[in-house]
Amino acid sequence: MAKRFTKMAYSSPEEMVFGHSKAPISYGFGMKVGAGRVIPELNYAPRPGTEKSVDRLRKEYVDYISKDALDRALTLGFPDLQLETEWVSQMAAPEMSAPIVSGQRDLVEKYHDKYGINLAVRHTIPDQREAGQGLRLGLDKESAYPERFMTCVDTVCENGADVLSVESVGGKEFADYAVTHGDITAFLFGVGYLGSMDMEYIWKQMVSVAKKHKVIPGGDTNCSGANVAMFMAGGMMDNDVQKTFSAVARCISAARTLVAPECGATGPDKDCGYEGVIVKAITGLPAAQEGKNCQCAHADLQGNLMAQVTDMWSNESVEYHPEFGGSSIQCWLGTLGYEVSLMNTAIQMGQERTLRDLYMNSDRTRGPEGYVLAYDNAWKIGKVIAEYGDDYYLRAKAAGLTGANIIMEGYDKKELILTSKQLLVLKKMIKELEALPDNEDSFYEYCAKKYKDEVPDFNPKNYGL
């Protein structure tokens, strides 16, 4: 069994602030994360069509995207930059990805040597596994996706990456169902329970390969669950999924994303895991986050708030294309780097807690998603996860229920406004979560039976059950 976090790294929420973590980590070419300075992390996507040949795609990533980014970082005087290559699915073939990994490494080495700029590259591999075909090695006879997943891990580690990450999809068959049906129990079962077991399975292997090749195992995100809920819940005018639902789903996902550090991941974790605030409160590891400067990828209601305790600030992803001010990645790096420089100025002037609270308060009451992630509330949710730290099911349930109660309290004391539909869904979730069994076995039995026909792709073997 992996290590479990049962104690909080931060003894109070007030202790948490951007640019500082309890376990700073150094790697790459002068990169020091969580050591008193926020680092910009730039993520990008190649133009469609460039993935058709090995050489073209390498050129796109290395000669165009990476070089553009490094040149702009110098132009604007940014002291640090982490590049993040989120692999397109074609890169699952090593002959496609290996030249990109080594090409980016050689390029950042050259820039570091020549200009002294601190650099590193994170590679985030695709998780193409399908629940219907099999999530574990040997199960997927059709496409061998689990095997291909591990090949990607090897390719990253053998070709000179600095950080290895993934957006893993364990439990997605339930998350999809849960979000579309507004079923919080299905989300708890799929993401909180099964997803945790899947993460333990893949992260143990990933950490071991990373260790062998001296690569930093960054972390994971519940992009495929909590972010899907958040995107569908959308903005002020959207109503398909209630934001009370997506907020509680986010709390549950924290209990799952925590499994990566429990298996040995060291952070910085994945930017798009908004639950990273809660994970940082528990583990003290450096957190990569995104918000206001990722409008190129998506809009959400906590763009400022998400900067409150970040150690690495990201733009999520931008496709490579020309803009008036340069290529798109150069423009977005500009907004990213300037925001980071503001945070670092605050640190230099001893004003970081003031800026943190400015960020946080601007979004605190704009919706339940931001409300549960405000660092004081996030810390409380982290605390119950740690209390039930030894039990995947109980800690995920406690996270969801605590999150829901925090929203309810906020509503009751008139800090947070909810629409009537949001309130209705919230009350239903609290009732539902409270009624769930108090032990793992009964919960499993209950869910296995309940979702037998609703979620046909569910296969216990995927989770070693």
Binding site: F78, I117, I347, M349
Partner: protein, 260 residues
């Protein structure tokens, strides 16, 4: 402001100002290359280590009327000075300085033939790897650095008998002789050379250098002086030319080689 001391470099950096202090071959060349087109071309062959082109370029310049002595000093040696400058600033590395020096020497050997009575340099030194020692990489590097600094080097090679060194000193009258040893068994040859020179009344400094030799040993016999690494040899030689004897070199050794 609640904090007065701000580390602005931790927020954003001045790469422009930082880069001003970093040299490139082109930037330094622009400042230091001679303006005369012939000399510029000659110096460039050394600067860019064009070992195959230096011969034809030097011959062309001579044919078109450039004085051989000027060609050497203002062309080839000027090129080498730029190289030394780049080396000191970590732009060029050891292999490049070796290659540039080879290029310069090819050029000098061609031009020299056209100077009646030969060329004069800062002064002449004799260098060798001592009797019984075949390891001469260190000596070769030091010899290149000496030549690049404008000295004439008479390189006797490796495993050179003590008596051969003495005989050559008597004939060539250098202002310094250096012996390198990588084997502790052989380094005593330096002391033997010093003793024989002293007996013959020749009081030139005997530099002991090389992996086996340490300062205490080099200074344990009369005439003996030390060089820890190749780049230290030219500044020490300069001081000898400036009138320092072996005792004064020893007294001021730390100052002479400081930072090298």
């Amino acid at each position: 402001m609640s904090k007065t001391k701000i580390d602005y470099g931790a927020i954003l950096r001045r790469y422009d100002a930082e880069l001003e202090n970093v040299s490139t071959p082109e930037a330094i060349a622009a400042k230091m290359l001679p303006s005369d087109p012939h000399l510029k071309e000659v110096a460039s062959t050394v600067l860019y280590m064009k070992i195959r082109e230096v011969g034809p370029v030097v011959m062309k310049a001579l044919k078109e009327g450039v004085e051989p002595l000027i060609l050497i000093n203002k062309g080839l040696v000027a090129g080498m000075e730029i190289v030394s400058n780049l080396y000191a600033q970590h732009v060029y590395y050891l292999p490049e300085i070796m290659m540039a020096a080879k290029t310069m020497e090819i050029g000098i050997s061609i031009a020299e033939k056209q100077i009646p009575g030969g060329r004069t340099t800062k002064g002449k030194v004799i260098m060798h790897a001592v009797e019984g020692d075949p390891h001469d990489i260190g000596k070769n590097i030091a010899a290149v650095m000496m030549r690049s600094s404008g000295f004439t080097v008479l390189d006797l090679g490796k495993d050179v008998a003590v008596d051969t060194v003495i005989a050559t000193v008597k004939e060539e009258k250098p202002f310094m002789v250096s012996g390198t040893a990588l084997m502790t068994t052989t380094m005593t040859a330096c002391a033997a050379i010093a003793e024989k020179l002293k007996a013959a009344g020749i009081n030139i400094p005997v530099m002991a250098a090389g992996g086996a030799v340490h300062r205490d040993f080099a200074e344990s016999f009369d005439l003996g002086i030390y060089s820890e690494k190749a780049p230290q040899t030219p500044p020490i030689a300069d001081k000898i030319l400036a009138g320092y004897d072996w005792k004064k070199i020893r007294e001021n050794w730390d100052d002479i080689v400081e930072g090298i």
